[in-house]
């Protein structure tokens, strides 16, 4: 069933056992993003020190894809530099735009390659990207502040 390529076990696992969920009151940037077509939302508290992401905590409401994606994002990006994060973010965005033609760079994306199947469902790509868009925003904001 094609649905299985969307709902990979690792995705549902992150959905049921989200990582770094629960907002840390200390942060260098806070962003709140909403997927306006369905109402899914995520709040990210990001802490960046000397261009290094020292912490991401989050809260949110939404479908398994959007919530699992934020959860994996935290696993992937915490302790990375902003430069490394940008490479990963870019790679994830490209995977999402691949319409099912890419399997993703497992070295960079690790478990998040499970989202390859999402790219076949255009209406769900937005779900998977919600947290990543929020992170981009947070990165820009905290850079602005550190200047």
């Amino acid at each position: 069933m094609e649905l299985d390529s969307l709902y990979q076990e690792v995705i549902l696992d992150h959905y049921k056992h989200p990582q770094h969920k629960g907002l840390n009151p200390v942060f260098s940037a806070q962003v709140h993003h909403v997927n306006t077509s369905c109402g899914d939302e995520v709040t990210l508290n990001v802490t960046i020190k000397d261009r290094k992401i020292t912490g991401i905590s989050w809260d949110g409401q939404g479908c398994s894809i959007s919530q699992a994606s934020v959860s994996m994002l935290t696993d992937l990006l915490i302790d990375k530099t902003l430069e490394e994060a940008e490479v990963i973010t870019h790679s994830f965005s490209e995977l999402m735009a691949s319409k099912g033609t890419s399997t993703g760079d497992a070295d960079l994306l690790e478990d998040a390659v499970a989202f390859a199947g999402v790219s076949k469902f255009p209406s769900r790509v937005k779900c998977a990207l919600l947290g990543w868009m929020a992170f981009k925003d947070a990165a820009v904001q905290s850079q602005g502040e550190s200047k």
Partner: protein, 416 residues
């Protein structure tokens, strides 16, 4: 019985296609948009292939035929809702119809009964679709009028206990939905109309979810304006209706301006034609109007009361089956009283978007999300729901497939 879903489905070509891997299409998203019968599609084609010309303008045969077709469609729509043809305005959608009234009121100068300013009030409700909420918010902002609203009770009904405080002598307009596109609730209009008219306010009815599904007679409703969309009533996309009482349409200033809605134009000034022309600037959506006329004829041939009865029976059946599902919560009246066939629900542990996706893999089309009624979702304390909405081409088998689909989804997502 004369009401045969099998026969009706044959008139709707989309049911010949399949979904995903050859699944039968179980279309439960008519609340968003309805499917179209050949009668409607062919009416548009017939217009384009035989009578296409700009209406009201040319001195040639095609223009005459196009005008006859267009004005004939207006008469059909008028007959369908018990109105006079000159009270029926073709717009592009219910959204435009509602914006038309709101903007036109904003254009009224002092002395005009529609003129609004500080101290005046606009009344809506918490269960409005954004299309019947945001235009009034904006009108309030532009004019300084105050927006107030009816709340929704915990059993998904309009709270009218404080009607005399909500509709006050300062109220100029009450904009309310006939049937909620999320809850299915059908609102009682009598008390609202009575109170509104008592204080000299007009009632604007958002009839998007009622006109397609039940017999509507504007005279009997007592409201002053009524809006609906063709595409939800088996008609084409790109056409909506605004109905208004003649004397009100005479006093209401125009909205869109341009060709064919004027009596004279100088470089600095213009005077307006009579309604409905006053509200139909430019070359109209002729083929779509003609298609909507055909839709009204088709629905009349089936019978609006028969459609309503069919949907009541289907809703009975669906509610009974759905409440049996563990972990399922109906968001809306769980009884079949004063409600339409739109049923929204949530399922603990499965997000609506995931449920919708799973159902889609089974060929079942539902809608998920806030359904363009965000304040309602907040007041019902849900972020998102799954909505199944039925129409004349649905039957009990569709309900069964839906119920099975939900149960399979519970298994699918419960596997860890």
């Amino acid at each position: 019985m004369s009401f045969s879903v099998t026969d009706i489905r044959r008139d709707f070509p989309i049911f010949e296609r399949t979904i995903r891997d050859g699944k039968r299409l179980v279309y439960l998203d008519s609340g968003a948009t309805s499917q179209k019968p050949w009668a409607v599609i062919n009416a548009e084609t017939d217009f384009y292939t035989k009578h296409n010309a700009a209406v009201h303008r040319g001195a040639h045969q095609l223009a005459e035929e196009a005008t006859d077709a267009y004005e004939g469609a207006r008469a059909k729509v008028a007959g369908f809702i018990g109105a006079q043809p000159e009270e029926v305005i073709f717009t592009k959608s219910a959204t435009e119809s509602l914006n038309l009234v709101a903007y036109a009121m904003g254009n009224a100068e002092s002395g005009n009964r529609f003129a609004l300013g500080e101290g005046d009030e606009i009344v809506v409700s918490e269960m409005e679709h954004h299309a019947n909420l945001v235009p009034w918010q904006q009108l309030a902002k532009r004019t300084g009028a105050k927006l107030s609203w009816f709340k929704v009770t915990s059993d998904a009904r309009l709270d009218l206990t404080n009607i005399d405080e909500v509709i006050t002598p300062r109220t100029k307009v009450v904009a309310i939905t006939h049937q909620s596109n999320v809850l299915g609730t059908i609102n009682p209009l009598d008390a609202i109309v009575k109170r509104a008219h008592e204080v000299g306010a007009v009632v604007v009815l958002d009839a998007c979810q009622s006109v397609p599904h039940m017999p509507i007679d504007v005279a009997a409703l007592g409201v002053d304006f009524l809006a609906f969309s063709g595409h939800k009533a088996i008609g084409p996309t790109g056409v909506g209706i605004l109905w208004g009482r003649s004397p009100l349409l005479s006093e209401l200033p125009p909205f869109l301006t341009g060709g064919s809605m004027v009596t004279s134009v100088t470089m600095t000034d213009a005077t307006w034609a009579q309604a409905p022309q006053k509200f139909e600037a430019g070359v109209p959506n002729m083929a779509q109007a003609v298609g909507l006329g055909a839709a009204c004829n088709y629905l009349t041939s089936i019978g609006m009361q028969a459609i309503r009865d069919h949907e009541i029976a289907l809703t009975d059946y669906a509610l009974k089956k759905l409440v049996e599902i563990a972990e399922l919560n109906i968001i809306g009246p769980s009884t079949n009283e004063s409600r339409g066939s739109t049923i929204s629900f949530t399922i603990n542990e499965i997000h609506p978007h995931d449920l919708g996706q799973f159902l889609d893999s089974q060929g079942i089309a539902v809608r998920t999300g806030h359904h363009c009624a965000w304040p309602l979702a907040k007041s019902m304390n849900v972020q998102s729901t799954t909505r199944a909405s039925f129409y004349l081409y649905n039957n009990e088998e569709d309900v069964d497939v839906l119920v099975q689909g939900i149960q399979s989804a519970q298994k699918y997502f419960g596997r860890f």
